[in-house]
């Protein structure tokens, strides 16, 4: 993997906001038209910079939700005490200009050239965003790597990309676990991702699976530890965490 890192100059570019899609009550996908965007790899992220009238700036990193062949899109969850996420999810309008640079990160990407390893994707909340990029990319290129997505959300209405995930086929198995509230007749999993659930969902070790975990810190910590407990080697478990505001 070394040497595949991005070496081109990552300059700030002025992106024009395109379509916006409300994914849930607090989550919005924002398409960005970025001039001269160098194609990204599924799993990478980008930086956003906002500038107030008096020159105050705020920068944040967001996972890229789109495939390398689509218009760049990010999916942003509004954080109650956030500074940038409320602006992006409530104030931003189509046609607005914001500064962007990227793509960034060369580790939490899917090396689809290695199809022998089944994929295990474990998402907590908006940690599902880079996995949409990976799943769409996998489908676009006709890759058949057996793939499982285990997605932990508070409740069914909090599930991001639900229609798309429910329609996934072609060797992808999606399972949800709902931690706080389950609808009547819910037949999926309930409660937090734990050893028993991972034991059920995770690929057997002898298949040399590759695991990706993305979500809040405590979620990632506990899932990564549980996978190591199941015998997954540390270098087959890639993690990405988010925190802050």
């Amino acid at each position: 993997m070394a040497g595949t890192a991005v070496r081109e100059r990552l300059t700030w570019r002025v992106a024009t906001v395109g379509a916006m899609i409300d994914e849930t009550a607090t989550v919005r996908t924002i398409e960005l038209d970025i001039p001269d965007w160098m194609s990204h790899r599924a799993g990478q992220h980008l930086d956003i910079r906002l500038t107030a009238e008096d020159g105050y700036v705020a920068e944040r990193s967001y996972s890229i939700a789109s495939t390398p062949d689509e218009p760049v899109a990010i999916t942003v969850e509004r954080l109650v005490d956030g500074e940038v996420s409320p602006y992006l999810t409530e104030d931003l309008r189509a046609g607005d200009e914001i500064e962007v640079r990227g793509p960034i990160g060369g580790y939490f990407v899917w090396p689809w050239q290695d199809p022998a390893s089944p994929l295990l994707l474990v998402a907590g909340g908006s940690g599902v965003v880079p996995f949409r990029s990976i799943l769409r990319h996998r489908s676009d290129i006709g890759n058949t790597t057996p793939t499982r997505l285990l997605y932990s959300a508070r409740s069914l209405p909090d599930v991001i990309y639900r229609a798309e995930l429910d329609a996934t086929s072609d060797g992808v198995q999606v399972s949800y676990t709902l931690t706080r509230q389950q609808p009547p007749g819910w037949t999926g999993h309930s409660g937090r991702v734990n050893d028993a659930l991972l034991h059920e969902v995770a690929w057997p070790l002898e298949q040399r699976p590759l695991a990706y975990i993305c979500g809040p810190t405590a979620f990632v910590e506990s899932v990564a530890a549980a996978l190591v407990g199941l015998g997954y080697p540390g270098d087959r478990v890639k993690t990405e965490r988010f925190g802050g505001a």
Partner: protein
């Protein structure tokens, strides 16, 4: 010239009176976010050591009790992560790299920190000496939690925090610079937050 983000005023700028302590592109957080590329390793302290290596030779190695027996310094520093958060006045306890290097003969120009889990990061030796770097094992008066790099991590607060390698197990002394983990994945080789050296081309 950056375009103005219409209607953006910024909510966090008044959370600190010390804005001149916050590097460009950073925001102040009171949380302590965690960032790591893989699972958190757990090495029993009985098997733990900190080594200074050169080539194939281990010049010096300290067991956990031996490290604890060295002079421990209390340091209060601001830390900045490349993912844009800065945390002010963090309190650490640890042993200065000066103390460790004083026990070996060396004339290295660079070091590569190595860690449980396989993580590495590279630094000029001038940046880990003269009271600028520690092997930290205490945070806020408590043992350093594993998710923050415990039992011990490097602490190099004047550089972006990926240089403060978690779960550190030693330093390899080098004559020539060698990129570490994130440095090979497109992050800046040096990582000065005040010059916003986030990515390789910055």
């Amino acid at each position: 010239m950056s375009p103005i983000s219409r209607g953006f005023h910024g909510r966090h700028r008044d959370t600190t009176a010390d804005t001149d302590r916050v590097p460009p592109g950073q925001y102040v957080t009171t949380d302590f976010p965690v960032l790591s590329a893989g699972p958190t390793p757990h090495t029993p302290l009985d098997n733990w050591s900190f080594s200074i290596k050169q080539g194939r030779d281990t010049l010096k190695s300290w067991s956990w009790p031996e490290l604890q027996a060295l002079p421990v310094e209390d340091v209060t520093v601001d830390i900045s992560c490349v993912t844009h958060w800065t945390k002010l006045d963090t309190r650490w306890q640890g042993v200065s790299i000066d103390t460790l290097l004083s026990q070996v003969e060396q004339d290295a120009r660079y070091v590569l920190a190595f860690c449980d889990g396989g993580y590495t990061t590279n630094l000029p030796i001038a940046d880990v000496t003269s009271g600028q770097a520690w092997v930290a094992f205490g945070y806020d008066g408590q043992p350093l939690p594993a998710e923050h790099g415990g039992p011990a991590r490097l602490l190099v607060p004047h550089l972006y925090f990926w240089k403060s390698a978690k779960w550190v197990r030693g330093l390899e002394l080098l004559a020539a610079d060698e990129p570490g983990f994130w440095e090979r994945y497109g992050y800046h080789n040096y990582g000065d937050p005040w010059r916003e050296q986030r990515y390789a081309s910055d």
